[in-house]
Amino acid sequence: MKTIGRALAVAVCLSWTVSASAATPERVQITGEIIDTWCYFSGVMGGPDAVVGSAHHTCALWCAAGGIPVGVLADDGTVYMVLKLESEDHVAGGGTIMDLQSDRITADGLLYERDGLKYLVVEEVVSNEGITNPNHEDYGPVPPFAIPDPNKK
């Protein structure tokens, strides 16, 4: 019984250590697409493959201008919420982050994790390949009204 007790006590200490160290950042380099996280997670505009890339670019601009959190969708599917971008903390509707919407970038920065989510303080955008996912060819504009019909005045 004492052994079980000690094991549980160690488990508690370890979990507290994990919790306490959650604010300690890890230096990372992340490659992925800058996305609108609300549409991606909520499904409000469709499935995850439709709410990225060129198909969703205009909507991504709207959401970024609206101050909805922007994230980096890494190649392994992990989403990193961007909290700061190259010393610019205007990530809720700021112009710098809007310029990167839908682009595939490599970002160097600090990773914070808490309560299951990953947050990224981008210190440097190491490279920017622009929009590399021309998925409008498959999905058209998402949502469909993102591009106004020129025939309707």
Partner: protein, 190 residues
């Protein structure tokens, strides 16, 4: 044995399992038919997420520049708030900012499937024991920031100069005006 049970309970709690709690009691949140949607009403503290995580803090939670979140009283869980209550591509910073570092009660939706933690859409907010306010400040603040554009016909996102300037430069698809024109012709041409 008692000590074992206490230790086990502490281990369970410290692993963050409290996040699976049901917060729907008393919620009047409207459904949006979103992935994994759950009503959630709870008390919390409004925080600047960057400050909360890193210690990089700014006056008044960044005055609207930074993403804001909620640290829930029940389990100390940090949630970044994704969305306000307006169906117009608008976040919740304007609605949370008046309560920076204050205790609030919020009502809205937890959203997301297959995630370690759900994300939050706030539909109404109040200072503890205060009057409820709908989370619709975004468009009011936008109208003050862009008074000339606000007079024009149409929703804010069609008129916002930050958006329209980028579409004018790179097109709706972001791939350049030539690709844009060809696509629009294919999509809408007769």
């Amino acid at each position: 044995m008692k000590r074992l049970i206490v230790i086990a309970a502490m281990a369970w709690a410290s692993l963050g399992v409290a996040m699976a709690q049901d917060f729907s009691e008393g919620s009047e949140a409207k459904p949006w038919n979103l992935n994994g949607e759950e009503k959630a009403r709870f008390t919390a503290k409004v925080v600047d997420v960057l400050c909360e995580l890193s210690g990089d803090c700014a006056d008044n939670c960044g005055e609207g520049r930074r993403q804001l979140g909620l640290v829930r009283d029940a389990d100390d869980a940090l949630m970044i708030v994704m969305k306000n209550g307006q169906p117009v591509f608008s976040g919740a910073v304007a609605d949370l900012l008046p309560y920076c570092n204050q205790a609030v009660e919020v009502d809205g939706l937890l959203v997301g499937e297959g995630l370690p933690a759900k994300l939050y859409q706030v539909q109404r907010i109040r200072a503890v024991d205060g009057e409820w306010a709908k989370t619709n400040r975004f468009t009011k603040d936008w109208g003050k920031a862009y008074p000339d554009e606000a007079k024009l016909k149409g929703p804010w996102f069609r008129k916002d100069p930050r958006v329209t300037s980028r579409i004018a430069a790179e097109g709706y698809l972001g791939l350049g005006l030539e690709i844009d024109a060809a696509f629009i012709e294919e999509e809408f041409g007769e």
